[in-house]
């Protein structure tokens, strides 16, 4: 792929100027597409509009993404990278297994709050009509991202069992329980921003309710130590502050910056 014995000018990052330019343009396309998706869904993305906005011909855009769905999937991959980053940052600063789990919950909240548009995109991209139109390569990338997130969560579960904090007693598998926390959080958030008049139905703060429900689920499986409102409040506050300070808002895929060496 990369011309090994080339005279092409090499930038510090190991890319030819052209390659760097292309990479930058790709980012720019995604940047432009994001708000379009936000109001209008997949149909909101207009290849013509992107091309016009960037002062490139439409064909050039199609060199990067062979269809709208590819753009959406690329954004979803960015989303999941960011989510994983938050998961890791949140979990790794706790010792206790249940605290780790709760922190990941806070990371979900934080993701949803700071990257609301990406959350939506993550939901959209999963519809068969979108999924099937995208390239095998990107689909695999996305699946990988998702599996890494799930693996992080599952590892916390296994740690809890190893340390004796949790005992599912053979009848239930760790993954099934993690699936529960995932459903609860993901589902709650989807309902929160897509259900007409949640408050009419009696829900004041969806996030608070979701958090409380996650704890009830963990209590239901006997995960030690059981829910303690005061402890939770502190955990939430500190985790949130930590994430805001240590995980930044930009979402571009970690391209080598050229700063190193």
């Amino acid at each position: 792929m990369v011309p090994r014995l080339s005279n092409a000018p090499e930038l510090p990052s190991g890319l030819t100027r052209k390659q760097a330019e292309i990479l930058a343009r790709e980012q720019r396309i995604l940047q432009l597409a994001r708000p379009m998706v936000t109001d209008g869904g997949l149909a909101g993305i207009s290849m013509d509009a992107i091309a016009k906005e960037m002062d490139y011909a439409k064909g050039t855009i199609y060199n990067h993404f062979s269809c709208k769905e590819e753009i959406l999937l690329a954004l979803a991959i960015e989303a999941n990278s960011k989510r994983l980053e938050l998961f890791q940052a949140a979990a790794d600063r706790q010792e206790d297994s249940r605290d780790k789990m709760a922190s990941i919950g806070v990371a979900c909240e934080d993701f949803r709050e700071r990257f609301a548009d990406l959350f939506q995109i993550d939901v959209m991209v999963r519809h068969a009509a979108v999924w099937e139109k995208a390239s095998e390569k990107r689909r695999e990338l996305m699946a990988q991202c998702e599996q890494r997130c799930m693996a992080k969560v599952a590892s916390v579960g296994h740690q809890a069992i190893a340390s004796g904090d949790l005992d599912l007693g053979g009848s239930t598998r760790v993954e099934d329980m993690m699936f529960g926390l995932w459903s609860l959080t993901y589902g709650g958030m989807i309902i929160d921003d897509s259900s007409p008049g949640l408050d009419h139905v009696g829900i004041r703060s969806a996030f608070t309710a979701i958090r409380r429900n996650c704890h009830a689920l963990m209590d239901g499986y006997g995960w030690q130590p059981l829910y303690d409102p005061e402890r939770d409040r502190k955990l939430v506050r500190s985790t949130r502050a930590y994430l805001r300070r240590h995980v930044h808002d930009d979402t571009s895929i970690p391209a080598t910056t050229g700063k190193d060496h």
Copy 2:
């Protein structure tokens, strides 16, 4: 609306022939649109295709639904009517509050299994891009359907408290807990049919996992009687059989059939 002193031929149902014809056509449109949505989402609906299929001009279709989104919303309303029907049938044949709740869970499963396409539609319709394009009137209808479902669930919760089976101890509101069960079920199902490679991640049977997790959540809140695998198995089996026998597959909105009187 209805011409009171009209010579128009009146059918037994109280509609003029024309009105009946229009109603029937409306059903036919929805019938045709359903599979289109299934493979292709909102974009899968083609007004031209529907018109051609029905041998009507496009304008006629637009007399019924002013845009594709209206069709989708109409289908979503059908979906929620059906869901409510299942909820009621499932809950009303149980005595115990926790059994009622578990039965509603089974109703959700049954709905998802028998009306998979409507489940998807229900998810789609909630996206802002769709929601905002539909008419106020239909949106209100939809919100009503949803509230009736939620009310049914909430009433079970309140009954549990009244009977002493459940005690949330002031810190949590019934609605918040019901929201948890809703999130868990809804979210789990969404993940189930939209996540690439759930089994790669360790989930064998999503429905079983969801059911188990709902019980864990209820246990976590101390809802009596606590989870008993054997009891649950029986409940699931009998509820499922009952629903299959007593709630039918057709989804047309209950139009007066003319049979009565």
